[in-house]
């Protein structure tokens, strides 16, 4: 079906982009903690542990945004398919 290949490519690209952005956001915060811990491994470990709730809560918004982009992409392809089915049945 026309459009399926484009949709799959766009979906794969979106998965890669969103996954990279969110995982890099976590790592970037860990790097800031590492800097703030000034060579103290215990302090760094404690910062990682104590930030879990906050960081996961912050990730909720990012993952929600990613899911909304996925919804839009899926809806767009759904509409393409629907138009194709209606065009065929109207012939």
């Amino acid at each position: 079906m026309k459009g399926h290949e484009e949709y799959v490519n766009a979906l794969t690209e979106l998965q890669d982009k969103e996954g990279n952005e969110i995982s890099d956001a976590f790592l970037s915060i860990f790097k800031s903690m590492l800097k703030a811990s000034r060579g103290n491994i215990k302090k760094f470990q404690a910062m990682i542990r104590l930030s879990r709730k906050k960081l996961v809560r912050d990730a909720v918004r990012l993952v929600k945004d990613s899911q909304n982009k996925a919804k839009d992409l899926g809806k767009e392809f759904g509409a393409v398919k629907l138009n194709a089915v209606e065009a065929t049945s109207g012939e």
Binding site: Y7, L11, T12, Q15, F26, F44, R52, A59, Q67, K75
Partner: protein
């Protein structure tokens, strides 16, 4: 029973968030184990800090594992959500067929069987498992579609 996309979408999100939280927990545990292992080898805390820094700055070892786990969850939440939305749009159509992902040459046996099984109603496909919902061997990586 008809699929409720909003409810399904919320479940997909909740499961992924729970998995990301678990991955964070695994990172904490792995870090503790790694620090204990190095201490047992007689490595000084300053050197342990350098090694952990190196892992983090180059996304290696436990940080690479954490990054991979988060990326996997994003693959799932984005893939399942898009697939769900794209197929629900056709739910009112009488008969639908399973169209294979055109971007890959090899397909899992479940997708091949579904594509050869002819047309079915949306509810029938829902019971068998819609593309990308995890009921095929290729699981949530399935990018087949209903047409």
């Amino acid at each position: 029973m008809p699929l409720r996309p909003r409810q399904a979408s919320r479940s997909i999100f909740n499961i992924s968030m729970s998995q990301i939280d678990s991955a964070y927990g695994v990172l904490e545990t792995d870090m503790l184990a790694e620090i204990q292992r190095m201490r047992a080898l007689g490595i000084a805390d300053a050197e342990i800090f350098n090694r952990i820094s190196d892992s983090l700055n180059n996304s290696l070892d436990l940080f690479s594992k954490f990054k991979g786990a988060v990326e996997k969850e994003l693959d799932i939440v984005v893939g399942k959500t898009a697939q769900l939305e794209s197929n629900v749009a056709l739910s009112e159509q009488e008969k639908l067929r399973w169209e294979l992902d055109p971007t890959v040459e090899e397909h899992c046996s479940d997708c091949l069987r579904n594509s050869a099984s002819g047309q079915k109603s949306f509810d029938e496909w829902s019971l068998m498992g819609l593309p990308g919902m995890g009921n095929t061997q290729c699981g949530s990586y399935c990018k087949c579609t209903l047409t």
